[in-house]
Symmetry: C2
Subunit: 242 residues, 2 copies
Amino acid sequence: MAAEPTYLELADGLAASLGNAGERVVSENELAERHGVSRPTARAALQELERRFLVRRIRGAGTFVSRRIDYVISHDTAPSASATLRLAGAEPDVELMSARTMGAAADVALHLDIERATPVVHLQRRIRIDGIVTSWTSAYLLACAVPGIASQMRCHTSLFQVLREQYGIESQRRWSRASLELPTDTVIQTLELEGRPPTWLVEGVNHDRADRRRAIEFTRSWMRADVVNVVFEMGHPPEVVR
Amino acid sequence: MAAEPTYLELADGLAASLGNAGERVVSENELAERHGVSRPTARAALQELERRFLVRRIRGAGTFVSRRIDYVISHDTAPSASATLRLAGAEPDVELMSARTMGAAADVALHLDIERATPVVHLQRRIRIDGIVTSWTSAYLLACAVPGIASQMRCHTSLFQVLREQYGIESQRRWSRASLELPTDTVIQTLELEGRPPTWLVEGVNHDRADRRRAIEFTRSWMRADVVNVVFEMGHPPEVVR
DNA sequence: CAGTGGTCTAGACCACGGG
DNA sequence: CCGTGGTCTAGACCACTGG
């Protein structure tokens, strides 16, 4: 016999009977009572489900089925966070945190292949999904290529769309990198994280489809791993069966 | 005041004073005694470090500082697990689990762009790092391109190397995909996982550099997220400062 | 064998959310 | 206000590792 621990038995049982996203899951007390175990054991089962990204727990409210969103990064998908999230069926809520022009720092200059201190526009945005802060993005754009973009961003949400419609720039991925990292204190504050859970770090450089030699934009995003599953795809996928 | 929970204070304190990989960390009892807290609280602190992939805990032995290996997937890195791991400073220990010829199933046929039931060689391998089963890979190779490879693999460890040295095939990534998924029961058994922790799923199709039209190999790997950090890179990285 | 981490109990108080 | 999950205590037994 496997003789699995009680809390894992409970977790597996619950996992198999989870409802649709957003639905409520039994409380710790109810689970404990129903199965004749102590509250810590029932609690361990629910925490196990949270570690598996299957539920979200909110103090004072309860435990709820969560949906984890596939955030697909590939050559074929547009370099637009809101579009990528919408593609996965989510309703992203974009908040512009700051927009200002500054001289490029060393890392930004390196990625954009420009001299240090070249003017760049720094946009900071946060995206909420179902009220949860899901991503925090710093975008650095070549200032000379996007004059007045700061004011544009104040009345639009999608940077990708503004670039296309206001500046005629068809943004396209030149380079991109994703990994699961330990968040810094700033990230923890901005994403309103508890503890210090491994978090996606996604960086990328984009250029205009019409002028591939010049990099236009460098972005650095942190994304909650419990809300989003980053799926990274490289090269051309096999033909899907039709 | 932040009024952080005791166990997080303890975790942060320990995290800041961790030694080199492999070194021992204080035991639960010692931590509890030293800080005048209960064992469950001390335990929670150590478990928090485990969730951050900073330590590994072994029943009966203790808690040890772990190093997490960057597994870099990019166009520039060779499609070889052992080479990728060695590049990161690890010493992979490859075990050939099975090698047999079979007819291609639907998914394999799709990825290799061949008819179903076309003969393919199925290689199953496991890689251990520091004694821990880190990855489990199923590789499907076009049988006609690699005659007798099963016996070759019994005396060599690197498939990439065998393809190059025995068959003159310079394996190169055509398509690749990585994400963090919930492991199936089979994966849990094979990787000797406890619980059902999110695990890397990496799939890829490779071809010969000399004949890019024909796919040679389809691989599907599961890798422990606590041992390996998959870093996925697409396109050409910016020039490194020299 | 002693010490480790893994599991479990039966309580307690708290901060928070919603009715 | 009550119920929720978050934290914490003080015990207990077990399986396992190592000397």
